[in-house]
Amino acid sequence: MRRTTRSLLTAAIAVAVLGVTACGGTSGGDGPAARSIDTSNGLVIDGETIADQALWEKAKGGNVSLATALTEREEKVITEQFKADTGIALDFVRLPTPKLFERAVSEKGAGKLSFDVIRVTDTTAAEEMAKNGVFGQTRTPFDDQLRKDGALDIGGGNFVSAFYAIYTFAYNSQAIPSASAPKTWENLLDPSYKGKIGLVNPNGSGYNTALTDMLIQDYGDRYLKDMQALGPRIFDSVSVMGTALGQGELTVGLMGANSALSLAEQGAPVVAVIPPDGVSAGYTPFGITIKGAENPAAQVFVNWQMSRAGQSKLGPLGLAPARSDVEPARMGDAVLPKPGDPNFTLFTTADRQQRQAAVLATWNGIFRYTG
């Protein structure tokens, strides 16, 4: 079904190769944007009520402790805007999802949970945290909209998807002229990329699991086997792989559109490609903890993140907002696929429950990386 839709789409649209010119500014990060903020009756930003009067009175002047698996750069852009909009202090600790999981669950077990809000990149890890009682109930005034858009399809009320990460591939434009740049997933199997292609271990990374699943579903196991035959370099983090790509150690890397955008903005000759045969997308679990449930400022942060004000900071970072009523993700002038588009392949909860174990077993069996 999906292949049929894709074929039609391929015929309908030209291959979109999105070059992001190197520039000094940071998408979405040129300082917090100016907003229309009204606090006369609660907190209202750009006409949308983030907190009612009662919540706002309790939250004003408070502070929030966030644990995040997002990159420092992206989390800073988002939280600086929150602080500018609300005047509420927010500190975040950045840890990879597995370490964040260990710390949160251990702290919860000892009754010393130190985080109000948690954002991770792997839904299974978030579910395990929820099972261990780390999360409270994550509710916002926008639940109807979020339900309609699918952001509540995960978490069972404990957490929601703050946004979707779009995974595709990117190339080094100094090493590959744009005329001969790869344009489709099949192009990546060209022997000329032998030893020059990078990918990230999907174990523990929901985003990379989603990408691996899409490749297996669309092209079968043989795609991974052909990729393995090229002797790819396997990385534990997409940021480190991005560095190798930017320096020219690699010519092509499988990565998030947000990472490619970030690299380009830092001056790296990295160009992300949106192949006509689709990109993968993964949820980003985001929820209030049992500690945060007692902190009105934390509730305001969660509300803000899921409001139009919070969601509008995501698109310029190359992240697909969870809400459909804000601007989609962009790279330069180009619009990236968004939820509901046929070339936006979301790794749904059902997909994960049915196939995640098999996807990882297939990947581990072919690449033999994790011992």
Binding site: K99, S106, G204, I234, S237, G248
Partner: protein, 555 residues
């Protein structure tokens, strides 16, 4: 009974975290707070004998052995040249031996990756520019050995230099008087007297290299070389983590290191190494004659490889506006270089708070660690307390356990202990005290074994209390060694990354964590390189100040 309070302290700092790791090794579930099930199994230990662990073990043992031999050779050579020969520029040679310690091995590995990665390494770019047709690849076993040896050689240098500086010339004089050639005197008197320091530093370096995760991750992983630390990282670093299997592997490593420690004790127990008597003496300097200047060449090469090239790579990277550099001539293009990254670093409030945190924690941990190490070393080597062997064994335990695993044990411990330390800088200090106890003890042990106890005993016989005798006589005699221990622990605390990663909060972020974050957000970025350079400078200043003040105090 001085050993009882020390045992209690070490039990809290080391035994409880290690005990939790040991429990994890035989548990079905990770024994984190709130999750104790006491469902035990031996399946985790069985997983240790899998094929993947075997190849990782062989790689790690080979790399650690080669790096240790090379590091001790480098450190020993520089120590010998500066402490016992008349080679010129003695103070500069001393600095060459010590300064590489200010460059954390993690940053050093990243810098060498910038220099020697096959396609884009600066050295390879330079070779291409010059048409030399050469290519080096640090993503290899040889690369790993060289980089580890470069940045661990200062440990050998510090310990061997302290030993050689304090060496009483009487035995060498006796050898000379009895007709021994210079080479024979060195071979049969000088070098054997330095054996405790050589073996102590070799053991220390071997185990540190064996469990060094950051360097292996930066250099071995891109080369598809499986090592024990990277294998454990993958066990721990992905979800669902295999913490119990990682703990089992850690337990096997502990057994291995305990065996090594016992072997070292056996070798050293066969004879006395006492050479510091408290009587006025100065180690004899050997005249090198026409080789005086030639002796400097290896030192200079070491300095270039360990400091000049890595710092140069960091500087170039911090100034480059694009991470891609096809040739050095591209740096001449307008806009190719700018210093804005340093402005970004200095304008970042988090950088300053991390710096202050790092200095506070490092100084406190180094002071506390030196005192604790001396106390333990004194009880172990100068008393007949019954718990001597236990004190030493417990002190050495953290060395054997990969920091990735031990960090979890420390996290669980301090979540369980009802003291208000969790989330404070105090937690990082006590964590470092435990983690760095082996290095502190080995450092003090080498010199306490070389220091004669006659003067201290004489003072006691003449009515001084033992404590006053120790403080008034033994401590001053060991001043050089204790200041070396303080410096060693200070540097280790400034560099420590893996353990604080599990324990830090936003208010207790350390500079090492901030750098890790920057590299994780793009290892070749300008700001990551810029903050690394500032970090190295800070470490240099921190190391220099105590020496400077020490010299003034002695003047």
């Amino acid at each position: 009974m001085p050993s009882i309070p020390l045992l209690v302290v070490l039990a809290v700092l080391i035994l409880v975290p290690v005990g939790l790791v040991a429990l994890a090794a035989v548990s079905v579930d990770v024994p984190r707070p709130g999750g104790f099930t006491f469902d035990l199994t031996l399946a985790n230990l069985a997983s240790v004998v899998s094929g993947a662990v075997g190849s990782a073990t062989i790689n790690s043992l080979g790399i650690a052995t080669a790096a240790t031999v090379l590091a001790v050779a480098i450190g020993g050579y520089v120590a010998f040249v500066t402490a016992r020969t008349d080679a010129p520029f003695g103070r500069a040679i001393y600095a060459c031996g010590l300064i590489p310690m200010f460059l954390p091995s993690y940053v050093g590995a990243l810098a060498w990756a910038m220099l020697g990665s096959p396609a884009s390494g600066l050295l390879n770019v330079a070779f291409r520019d010059l048409g030399l047709g050469l290519e080096i690849n640090v993503y290899s076993r040889v690369g790993l050995v060289l980089v580890c040896a470069l940045f661990y050689a200062p440990y050998a240098f510090l310990l061997i230099h302290a030993s050689m500086t304090m060496m009483n010339p009487d035995l060498e004089d006796a050898a000379a008087i009895h007709g021994g050639s210079r080479w024979r005197m060195l071979r049969s008197v000088t070098f054997p007297l330095a054996l405790p320091a050589v073996l102590g530093s070799a053991l220390l370096i071997f185990v540190l290299v064996l469990e060094n995760f950051p360097v292996a991750q930066v250099l071995a992983t891109p080369g598809n070389i499986e090592t024990l630390p990277t294998y454990i990282y993958r066990m721990m670093g992905f979800f669902p983590s295999r913490g119990t299997e990682a703990a089992a592997l850690a337990v096997v490593l502990v057994a291995f290191v305990v065996l090594l420690t016992l072997a070292q004790r056996r070798v050293l127990a066969k004879r006395s190494f006492t050479t510091v008597t408290g009587k006025g003496m100065r180690a004899r300097r050997i005249a090198l004659g026409r080789f005086r200047w030639l002796a400097l060449v290896p030192v200079l090469l070491y300095f270039v490889a360990s400091i000049v090239l890595p710092l140069g790579a960091l500087l170039v990277t911090s100034l480059r506006t694009s991470p891609f550099m096809p040739s050095f001539s591209s740096l001449l293009r307008p806009g190719a270089l700018d210093g804005s990254a340093f402005g970004t670093v200095f304008a970042d409030a988090q950088f300053w708070s991390s710096t202050v945190n790092s200095v506070i924690v490092a100084v406190a941990a180094a002071l506390g660690g030196t005192v604790l190490s001396f106390a333990v070393a004194y009880v172990v080597y100068r008393t007949s307390a019954r718990a001597r062997a236990q004190l030493e064994a417990i002190s050495m335990l953290p060395l054997a356990i990969p920091a990735l695993v031990l960090g979890m044990g420390i996290l669980w411990t301090w979540l369980l202990i009802p003291l208000p330390l969790y989330g404070t800088l105090g937690l990082l200090v006590v964590a470092f005290l435990g983690v760095q106890m082996p290095q502190g003890l080995r450092s003090v042990a080498a010199s306490i074994r070389s220091t004669d106890r006659d003067l201290e005993d004489s003072a006691v016989v003449h009515g001084r209390s033992r404590v006053r005798a120790v403080l008034g006589i033994t401590v001053p005699l060991m001043k050089v060694a204790l200041s070396s221990t303080f410096l060693l622990l200070l540097m280790l605390s400034m560099r420590e990354l893996t353990v604080p990663l599990l324990l830090y909060t936003r208010d207790t972020t350390l500079l090492s964590v901030a750098i890790f974050d920057r590299f994780e957000n793009g290892g070749g970025s300008q700001s990551a390189a810029a903050i690394s350079l500032v970090y190295c400078l800070l470490m240099f200043v921190l190391a220099y100040l105590p020496r400077r003040f020490g010299q003034k105090a002695n003047a």
